[in-house]
């Protein structure tokens, strides 16, 4: 079972309408690169100059990757990545 990447609702238009995409990858970086191969319009919106954009948070099995190893965080089959806009406040 590969890695599942969940796409936030308003971004699904850039993933052929899909709510989630399955990819193969050894770490977060390669999993997202694989996503970009299928849906470049999506990863173009996630990354800027090779870095994850300021207001995008990426979670691996509900853990923020910034508290793990960022893009180098290893992933394995069955893992879930979520791409979530950063909005903490209230």
């Amino acid at each position: 079972m590969p890695v599942t990447i969940h796409i936030p609702t308003p971004m699904r238009q850039h993933a052929d309408g899909q709510a989630s995409v399955q990819v193969a990858g050894s770490n977060v970086q390669s999993a997202l690169a694989a996503l970009g191969d299928k849906h470049p319009a999506l990863t173009q919106r996630i990354f800027e100059n090779g870095q994850v954009r300021r207001f995008v948070n990426i979670y691996l099995n509900n853990e923020d990757i910034r508290y793990l190893d960022n893009l180098a965080t290893p992933v394995k089959d069955g893992d879930e990545l979520a791409i979530i806009p950063a909005v903490a406040g209230g």
């Binding site: 207001f55 923020d64 806009p85 903490a88 406040g89 209230g90």
Partner: protein
């Protein structure tokens, strides 16, 4: 029939325009969306005289808020006191100190009633019937109360270790309260996912652009109460980092529409040391804040490790020539007691943070002693009583005897003489 003063939503990063809907981020770069106004139309339609005829509550400045019609939720919110704090000024060694006191805001005793009144009125305009929020406490109280009064169903998600009084103060309104075993940031992430899945109106997530505008009324009132002018210095607590930026925006909007002179106010952010991503960014000169994974502070209302408006708050502080500081839990509690005994105001922990940081900035020479300073008090201390308990003396307990009482008084005066 939409507001003639609202152009739509706009990305704060790339400027991309969007129509009004329950959405909070740009699909080009995930940037946060903000309401965009037609300031020329506003300037033509509104002036100080017109505002002054209206009842003193937040809707006095209605044209600056993103509703199409009359507000249907929170009609009495705002209009809180601006208190001249002579005794606290004396204690801190400054000449002119004011307190904008939202500890007595209606209906739930925090500034959150302002943002919720806008968000829920907007939710109604957008046809939503279920609303919710992710909260560190004050927002939970406010959404629950205002949703109850409006007949809206509400789901309130909080960290499960939140102060009991805040949880009770939310459940009492009949809201569905759910404790999440995690930090506030995790609660927020979950609510984002819930909002996407169920389409409910989460006031601080998918309704955020409308919600955020309500904070401007704190600033509008402050300027009007000072006599249609801005102070030299404003000290503001920072959780998500939104309020400080919205006060700055309010001052600019009053100027832009010809109601006040160009503001030259400096903004100072206040955080607890146990969760200080924004003050650390300011003090270290970083452009972006570094998120705090496990906030650890009694100021739970400010315990947001990854503040959505951190970047913008840092910018406002820097651009206005202000600064930021953070204080320990002990300093927070002591400052809550100080505010109580000098001004008769019982603020929650965030208020203690603000007063303690103001003191620190004054002692550092960053806040000048001879210029006007306004402190932002955003919530009531009844919600965080435990935090201040250790700073207060237990009452003496005596028998119902006049002699014993007189003895007590004598002890007290001899203690003072010593």
């Amino acid at each position: 029939m939409s507001s003639p003063f609202v152009r739509g939503l706009k990305c704060r990063l790339c400027g991309q325009a969007y129509p009004i809907s329950a959405t909070n981020f740009c699909t080009e770069d995930f940037g946060p969306l903000e309401v965009e106004y037609d300031y020329d139309a506003l300037a033509d339609s509104l002036d100080r005289a017109k505002i002054e005829l209206r009842p003193f509550n937040m809707w006095r400045y209605q044209e600056f808020l993103p509703l199409d019609g009359e507000p249907t939720v929170g009609r009495q919110v705002g209009g809180t006191p601006l208190v001249k704090a002579h005794r606290l000024a004396h204690e801190l060694g400054v000449e002119q100190l004011w307190i904008k006191n939202d500890a007595v805001n209606f209906p739930t005793l925090s500034f959150k009633d302002r943002v919720v009144a806008v968000a829920l009125s907007k939710a109604r305009e957008l046809g939503l019937t279920t609303v919710g929020c992710a909260s560190t406490g004050n927002l939970a109280n406010s959404v629950a109360a205002n949703a109850a009064a409006a007949g809206l169903e509400s789901y309130i998600l909080v960290p499960s270790d939140l102060e009991r009084s805040k949880i009770l103060g939310t459940s009492v309104f009949g809201a569905k309260v759910i404790g999440i075993k995690g930090t506030y940031d995790e609660v927020n992430r979950l609510c984002t996912q819930i909002a996407f899945k169920y389409g409910w109106g989460f006031v601080n997530i998918n309704l955020r652009p409308f919600y955020a505008e309500g904070s401007k009324t704190f600033g509008f009132e402050m300027a009007e109460q000072l006599g249609w002018r801005t102070p030299g210095h404003v000290v503001c607590p920072m959780a998500g980092g939104s309020l400080i930026g919205k006060i700055h925006k309010a001052f600019n909007e009053l100027h832009r529409t010809g109601m006040i002179d160009k503001p030259s106010c400096k903004f100072y952010g206040a955080q607890p040391t146990g969760c200080n991503p924004i003050s650390a960014a300011v003090k270290n000169g970083w452009e972006a804040h570094r998120p705090v994974r496990k906030p650890n502070t009694i100021a739970k209302s400010l315990a947001i490790g990854d503040p959505a408006d951190g970047y913008f708050a840092t910018k406002v502080i820097r651009e206005t020539g202000g600064w930021a500081e953070d204080v320990s839990d002990a300093e927070i509690a002591e400052a809550m007691a100080l505010l109580g005994r000098t001004e008769g105001i019982f603020a929650e922990t965030a208020g203690g943070v603000t007063v303690a940081v103001a003191r620190k900035l004054i002692e550092q020479g960053r806040l000048p002693r001879d210029e006007e300073i306004v402190l932002c008090i955003t919530g009531n201390g009844l919600k965080t009583q435990d935090a201040v308990a250790d700073c207060l003396e237990e009452p003496a307990v005596i028998a119902p005897s006049l002699d014993e009482f007189s003895g007590l008084l004598a002890e007290e005066s001899s203690a003072v003489l010593v």
